[in-house]
Amino acid sequence: MNFLFNEEQTSLGETVGQVLADHAALTGPDPSRDSDGEVWAALAELGLFSLLVAEEHGGVGLGFVDLAPTVEALGAGLAPPLIASTLVATEAVNRLGDVEQRAQLLPDIAAGETAIAIASAELGRGNDPVFAECGLHDGRLTGRKIAVAGADVAQMLLVVTRTQSAPALALVPTDAPGVTVEPHADIDPSAGLCRVTFDNVAVASAQLLGEGSPGALDTLIDLGATAQSGMAMGIAEVMLKRSVAYACEREQFGKPIGSFQAIKHRCADLAVAVEAGKATSHYAFWACSEDAEDRASAASAAKAYCGEIACNACNDAIQIHGGMGFTWELGLHRFLRRAQVIEHAVGSRAWHYERVVAETLAAREVA
């Protein structure tokens, strides 16, 4: 019985955090993607992308839960979301890929040479990340995805689509004929969100991930939701730390503002939310790793709850920082913006709470 990370897991997260901290622009006031390439290279050199890959494919063979502190560090450091999506896609390939797919994809992924963007959201489907209009018929993919993080620099897209009979996951190179990638104008210009249009794109059967596996889409959703929850908690924790530091330092009425209960109690409530959110997210990582029975419920719980906590934490931090909080220069807006990207990635709050209930009721019927 131990719900803590071991030293290796923790120090992995710290190392990634330090690499990100070396690129101060990542969390600076002006959103920019200028250092994205360097950051990717530095993390690749560190071996980040090889961690989840099995040894036989040139990797380290760690489990998904081993990366939980790392994913939090990616969130806290406002790393390009393409990094986490590549890790999620890696794990999806591990679990859903057939022998050829793994042999073909994993070595390049491990070497940091294949960045994979995940294309799920579409317009006109509410907040449902699952139901896709984007259709695959007679080996041709047609449709449009929005908010695909890093599609403009990724080598590969992992696309949620559907055939006549069932949902499907397709691996499509970004340079395939018929694929058009356009950057969005959006709330977080550092996230690299793109609109991706598929116009009659040829997709061979070998490009389908988990074909015939009824749980393939759920697997991707669970891994993706869990990773997003981790990044959300990274953000929430930074907001807590910055708020506390400011509350200790900033004086008004002759006292540090942290001595006023209005500020102190808000920080305390935020600390409690961070504790609860992290516990929920960590459990989801574990449940994914172990393919626990409650994996779907744990992942959706984490996504819904941690997304909410991160958004609230950004609001709290801005309020605690007072006038400085809403200045561009202080840069809290960067976290507020990224928290919104996370909130709406892989299904937003209401959809995941709904899924928790559906899973719980289904489990009751089985029991």
């Binding site: 959201a121 907040n127 104008a185």
Partner: protein
């Protein structure tokens, strides 16, 4: 209880509405909008303020002798509503009219009135506010900017923050410390500072929404003639307290409410047409609960302002009511903006300039701007102190 207007009030509304119809460019708010570039937008608003003056729609509450209309409180409410309904540009010279002008009217010398009031009401001179400082935010009485009297001049040194539109203003209405040895509420005075004086420098501060109407303003040995002192030396705190109550009164709330309601209408419009997997957004019961609450709260903003209005009309002092109103609208508007992004789902992240953005990305801009509501004009924490102590009588 009576929500009808007198004939005279009705005529006032129609006159304003007619004037607005001709004063605003054709297609205003539909196909024609304010310039996006901040500098151009400023010039546009300056021209609009001058147009207001030319139509005698600036400073309507001022006495007729100073160029106003002596408008009643109800007329001021009507004015705020109609301006908002027409989506008219916001006035640049609010500080000139509501703070500097009002204070000079009540506490200024005759010479000050003659010198300063005409160009304010004509919107020929624009004003910025020099109250807050980096270390005097919520704790406004901690102002440190010093004004030392030397002969017939004050020499001003220090730094102000949140001086909106300082770069475009001719005058600054500044709270300064004239007696460093007195208790902190007792050594403050009001000075009218010419922004073209040597020694003033300005650094813009961007907001989290990307706009930069705020500034830091630095004063280095700036000379201000002693005749630009308003009221008595060291009596500035008392004057500030009476003046500030006008900044967040029910008139302000009524105008804002109309604009928030326009946002909400836009959101309903989007929800009514935007498809989902099984209908449109407005069919989703969870979306409807969020919409329902926002509809109720935006309506309550109007009702809370009308209550306060009625109390002032009945002779009550402008007191902590203003704090109740400000606290209410700021958080209700924040909740509405949070709800809007929640409701939009993945499209919530798309902003102005993206083809797929809902309603041109306006909800996102409003969301970002709304984060300042609970901070500026007295943070929510300060408003709660005021309500707790001055309205409920709780001990300090």
């Amino acid at each position: 209880m009576d929500f009808t207007y007198t004939d005279e009030e009705h005529r006032f509304r129609l006159e304003l509405r007619e004037w607005l119809a001709t004063a605003l460019p054709e297609g205003w708010g539909e196909t024609v909008f304010e310039p996006e570039d901040e500098e151009e937008r400023y010039l546009f608003r300056r021209d609009w303020d001058k147009k207001l003056s030319s139509g005698r729609w600036a400073g309507i509450n001022w006495p007729v002798e100073y160029g106003g209309r002596g408008a009643t409180l109800v007329e001021r409410g009507i004015f705020a509503e109609e301006m908002a309904r027409a989506k008219a540009p916001e006035s640049l010279n609010i500080i000139g009219h509501n703070l500097a002008g009002t204070t000079i009217l009540h506490h200024g010398s005759q010479a000050q009135k003659d010198r300063f009031l005409p160009p304010i009401i004509a919107n020929e001179e624009f004003w910025c506010q020099g109250f807050s400082e980096p270390n005097a935010g919520s704790d406004l009485a901690s102002v440190r900017t010093k004004a030392v009297r030397k002969g017939d001049k004050y020499v001003v040194n220090g730094q102000k923050i949140w001086t909106s539109y300082a770069q475009y203003s001719q005058w600054c209405f500044a709270l300064v410390r004239t007696d460093p040895d007195a208790p902190k509420h007792k050594g403050l005075s009001f000075l009218l500072i010419d922004m073209s004086s040597p020694g003033i420098s300005i650094r813009p501060l961007r907001q989290i929404s990307g706009e930069s109407e705020f500034n830091e303003t630095f004063f280095e040995d700036v000379e201000v003639p002693v005749e630009n002192l308003v009221g008595q030396e060291n009596d500035g705190w008392r004057i500030a307290m009476t003046t500030l109550a006008y900044e967040r009164g029910p008139e302000d709330c009524l105008g804002r409410q109309v604009r928030f309601k326009q946002e909400l209408e836009k959101l309903l419009e989007v929800c009514a047409v935007e498809p989902t997997a099984n209908g449109v957004l407005a069919d989703d019961p969870v979306v409807r609960q969020k919409l329902g609450r926002s509809i109720v709260e935006v309506e309550a903003m109007r009702l809370v302002a009308l209550k306060s209005f009625s109390r002032i009309l009945a002779g009550d002092e402008r007191g902590p009511d203003a704090s109740v109103i400000k606290l209410y609208w700021s958080h209700a508007a924040q909740r509405m903006n949070e709800a809007a992004l929640d409701i939009l789902g993945p499209a919530a992240v798309l902003s102005e300039g993206d083809d797929d953005a809902m309603a041109g990305g306006r909800f996102q801009t409003s969301f970002l701007q709304s984060k300042a509501f609970s901070i500026y004009s007295g943070s929510s924490e300060i408003q709660r102190n005021i309500i707790g102590e001055r309205m409920l009588g709780l001990p300090r």
